[in-house]
C-alpha cells in the first residue's frame, strides 16, 4: 500500500510542505515528512516497545497519550512512525495513517491565540484537511521528547535494564497477533532474552531492528511507497 495521495512523481514545490497525516482518535496530526524515517505496520506496531533505528535504540511512545489524548486503540490500522533527524530518534505509536499530503504553505495558519498554553509549542499551525482540520506538529518538539534519555543508549543497554522497567508504555497486545506485512518487513527482528514467564510475544517483539530501505523510489520519502 502506498501512502502517497498524489500520482505524479514530481518533487514537491518549494512553497509546499510534505507531511504525513496520522490520526490519534479524532485528532488529525501532520508530521513533517522531512523527519519521518519509516512506518511500521500493525504486526510489529502493536507490541514493539523499543525499536532500533539506524543503529540507535529508541522507545516507542504512544503519541496520543503524550499529548493528553485517549491512548491509541489496538486495531489493525495502528502504526509506528519512526522519526529522526541528526542524532535525534523517536518512534511514535498512532491509531492510523491517512497518507502523504503536499500542503501549500499559505494554507497553514498558526494555532489560534486562544490556545494560550504549552500547546503553542507542540503545534506550528493547522490547515484544512479533507472535510476537517489537521494540526501540524512542531518537529523540534516531537524529536526532543525524551531524547535525552534515549539518544545515547544502545540497544543492549535497554534490554539489560529489564525491558518493562524502562518503559512507560506497556503493550497490552493479544499474543499471536497479526503477522507483519511482508512488504514492510525490511528489517529483521532481533531476538531478546526471555524474562521469566512473560508473554513470549512481548519478548520477541520488544526490540525491533529496522534498516534503511534499499529499494526506495526517491531519497526523500523511502518509506512512502512500500
Amino acid at each position: 500500500m502506498s501512502l502517497r495521495s498524489r500520482t505524479d512523481k514530481v518533487a514537491p514545490a518549494l512553497d509546499t510542505l510534505q507531511v504525513l497525516v496520522v490520526a490519534c482518535g479524532k485528532t488529525y496530526l501532520a508530521i513533517p515528512g522531512a523527519i519521518v524515517r519509516g512506518v511500521v505496520e500493525f504486526g510489529e506496531a502493536v507490541e514493539a516497545r523499543i525499536v532500533s533505528l539506524f543503529g540507535e535504540a529508541c522507545r516507542v511512545t504512544d503519541l496520543a497519550a503524550r499529548l493528553g489524548l485517549p491512548p491509541a486503540a489496538l486495531t489493525p490500522d495502528m502504526r509506528i512512525i519512526l522519526c529522526g533527524e541528526h542524532r535525534a530518534r523517536q518512534a511514535w505509536r498512532v491509531d492510523r495513517t491517512l497518507g502523504l499530503e503536499d500542503v501549500d504553505m499559505q494554507r497553514i495558519t498558526p494555532l489560534p491565540p486562544h490556545f494560550a498554553g504549552v500547546e503553542q509549542s507542540w503545534f506550528t499551525g493547522l490547515f484544512l484537511f479533507r472535510d476537517t482540520v489537521a494540526l501540524l506538529i512542531n518537529p523540534g518538539w516531537l524529536l526532543s521528547q525524551t531524547m535525552d534519555a534515549f539518544v545515547s543508549q544502545s540497544l543492549p543497554d535497554q534490554t539489560a535494564a529489564g525491558g518493562a522497567g524502562v518503559l512507560d508504555q506497556v503493550a497490552a497486545a493479544p499474543a499471536g497477533g497479526q503477522q507483519p506485512s511482508p512488504a514492510r518487513k525490511r528489517g529483521r527482528r532481533k531476538s531478546s532474552a526471555t524474562v521469566g514467564g512473560e508473554a513470549a510475544s512481548l519478548d520477541v517483539l520488544e526490540n525491533l531492528v529496522l534498516e534503511e530501505s534499499a529499494d526506495a523510489e526517491d531519497g526523500q520519502t523511502p518509506w512512502a511507497d512500500a
Binding site: A116, G117, Q120, L128, T132
Partner: protein, 163 residues
C-alpha cells in the same frame, strides 16, 4: 458634562440598555451581550486539540474557516443536547470562538442597565445577573476568560523556555 456624569456615578455607557442574547447550554440559561455574539450556525463536529488552556480544547471547521472551541458546557458542568446543537460564534478580542449550545434558538432581550445586578463572587466569567421573564440569568463575558496581559507575558516566557 463628563464631570457631572462622573459625580453622579453614571456614565453614558451605563445609561444605555443592555442588548443581551439569551441561550441555553445543557438546559442552563445564560446571557451574553449582543456585541459579543457573531452569529448562530448549525454545529459541525469538532476536532479535539491537545491543550492545557482551560476550556479551549478543540477546533471546529466552518467552511474555509477554523475556529477554536470554547467549552462553555464544561465550565457550567453540563452536557449539551446531542440532538442538533447549535454553534454560537463568540466574539473575543483575540478572535472568534465557537461555542456549542442547545438547539433552542437564542433570543434577543433589551435590559435596562440599572436592572443588571452584581454577580456573586466565585462565578468565573459572570459579569452580572438579570431577570428575564421569571428567570434569574447570569450574564457572561468571553473577555473574562481570556488571558490577562500578565498571563500573556508569562505564557510567552514559558514558550521561549520550552522551545
Amino acid at each position: 458634562m463628563l464631570r457631572t456624569a462622573k459625580r453622579h456615578g453614571q456614565t453614558p455607557e451605563a445609561a444605555k440598555p443592555w442588548s443581551l442574547v439569551m441561550f441555553s447550554v445543557g438546559g442552563k440559561r445564560v446571557a451574553v451581550r449582543a456585541e459579543e455574539i457573531g452569529g448562530v450556525y448549525p454545529w459541525t463536529e469538532a476536532m479535539p486539540v491537545p491543550s492545557l488552556t482551560p476550556y479551549v480544547n478543540a477546533v471546529v471547521r466552518q467552511g474555509e474557516e477554523i475556529l477554536p472551541v470554547f467549552d462553555l458546557a464544561r465550565l457550567l458542568m453540563v452536557q449539551v443536547s446531542r440532538a442538533e446543537p447549535l454553534c454560537l460564534r463568540a466574539k473575543r478580542q483575540d478572535g472568534l470562538m465557537a461555542v456549542c449550545i442547545d438547539p433552542d434558538v437564542p433570543t434577543l432581550h433589551q435590559i435596562d442597565a440599572q436592572a443588571v445586578r452584581t454577580a456573586s463572587a466565585g462565578s468565573p466569567g459572570v459579569v452580572g445577573m438579570c431577570s428575564i421573564g421569571a428567570e434569574d440569568v447570569p450574564i457572561y463575558s468571553w473577555a473574562m476568560f481570556g488571558p490577562t496581559p500578565a498571563q500573556q507575558v508569562a505564557s510567552r516566557g514559558e514558550l521561549a523556555v520550552k522551545m
